[in-house]
């Protein structure tokens, strides 16, 4: 393990969330939430009044902030800004689509999982990838 290089700046990062209120409350209860000095939160509660623009801005902000390692996003929210989520291809922060209470989870919509499934099928059918 000599060449395991720790990343000093990312030593303890946050988990950001864009989801409905219930999911956020649950995760906040677990202790994920963070409010900094400027009253900036690391989560966005999406309800019926939230506009797509707000979600987009939050997504862009979370994916560019350096202290965030994982962005959890409800799948129905991800569907609203699907083009942004699909065009995002950086490894860090990782985007995770999570199911929410009112919206059942559909693996077909998940951008990463669909790729995984595609590769899986290609592998099992052709036996060789690329």
């Amino acid at each position: 393990m000599a060449n395991r290089v720790p990343i000093p700046a990312n030593n303890s990062s946050l988990i950001a969330m864009i989801a409905d209120e219930d999911t956020i409350v649950g995760f906040l209860l677990a202790g994920v939430g963070n409010v900094d000095i400027r009253r900036k939160t690391n989560y966005l509660i999406v309800d019926s009044k939230t506009t797509v623009k707000q979600i987009e801005d939050a997504f862009k902000e979370f994916t560019t902030r350096e202290d965030i390692a994982i962005v959890l996003i409800s799948q129905f929210v991800a569907n609203m800004i699907r083009f942004l989520v699909d065009s995002y291809n950086k490894p860090v922060p990782a985007i995770l689509e999570i199911p929410s209470k009112d919206h059942p989870y559909d693996p077909a919509h998940d951008s990463v999982l669909s790729r995984v499934k595609y590769l899986f099928n290609a592998e099992s059918v052709a036996g060789d990838r690329r």
């Binding site: 990343i7 409350v25 649950g26 202790g31 490894p91 990463v112 999982l113």
Partner: protein, 259 residues
């Protein structure tokens, strides 16, 4: 396209042949190594693929459980619990640590979640009623975070590995289909040129040898002829040389002759 354009522009010399041969050896070794790296990455990649699929499926269950726990807590503690929770947010006690793991020279980010500091700050939430349900809900969501963090690190590894495999395969193919044929073509070109030079040289040497031999033969013939003439003259009594000298004596100036 093939032939002329598929080789390096070099001067065909023996030194250059050595250099190009060394490069071909290097390219071959590099190709073998990269191929191995690509294989190692692919093995890792497939493992991660399997893990991602199973973890994604289990994530659905875990989220369902935690949502249910939250509903329970809400039912017991009243709906206003969420306002308490939303107001209580100060600093994250659950954080993510990232470290890198090295797989065949590719650095894969790995996330570990860590609960630090005061994990008990929501302890008083639901003190009036439903405290146990709230704590259960908390535990359920921490478990969910655990799975989600694992999934996130798998997903990050997946994306990184995908990228790494693509670049490695591109390099392998470039070495195999561009660099190596080009070097091989260059080597054969240099060898051909060198062979031609050698043949030319050989031909020239042969030519010179033949010329020299003919010259010697010609001289031998002349010498033999002269010998034959001399012998004939000796038989006649007077040598060709002396008669010549005699003639030269009459034509030259003689001191005894007055007129």
């Amino acid at each position: 396209m093939s032939g002329q354009s598929q080789r390096l522009n070099v001067v065909p010399t023996v030194t250059m042949l050595g250099v190009v041969k060394a490069r071909l050896v290097g390219a071959t070794r590099g190709h073998a190594l990269l191929k191995k790296k690509s294989d190692a990455l692919t093995v890792q990649f497939r493992q991660i693929l399997k893990k991602i699929v199973s973890t994604k499926e289990s994530m659905g269950d875990i989220m369902k459980t935690s949502s249910f726990a939250l509903t329970e807590a809400k039912y017991v503690a009243g709906d206003n619990i969420k306002h308490v929770v939303l107001e209580n947010v100060k600093e994250a006690s659950l954080r993510v640590r990232s470290r890198t793991e090295n797989v065949a020279g590719v650095k894969l980010p790995k996330f570990d979640y860590s609960a630090d500091g005061e994990a008990t700050k929501n302890d008083l939430t639901g003190l009036a009623r439903g405290g146990q349900q709230v704590q259960q809900c908390r535990v359920a969501y921490i478990k969910a975070i655990e799975v989600l963090v694992e999934l996130a690190s798998l997903q990050t590894s997946f994306l990184t590995l995908d990228d790494a495999i693509k670049t490695t395969n591109r390099r392998v193919n470039a070495l195999e289909n561009v660099v190596k044929p080009r070097l091989e073509n260059t080597i054969s070109y240099i060898k051909g040129e060198l062979d031609e030079l050698e043949r030319e040289d050989f031909f020239r040497l042969k030519k010179i040898q033949g010329y020299k031999r003919r010259e010697i033969e010609r001289k031998m013939v002349i010498a033999r002829e002269q010998q034959a003439i001399e012998k004939l003259q000796l038989q006649q009594g007077v040598s060709f040389e002396t008669s010549h000298n005699l003639l030269a004596g009459t034509t030259g100036k003689d001191e005894d002759i007055i007129f």
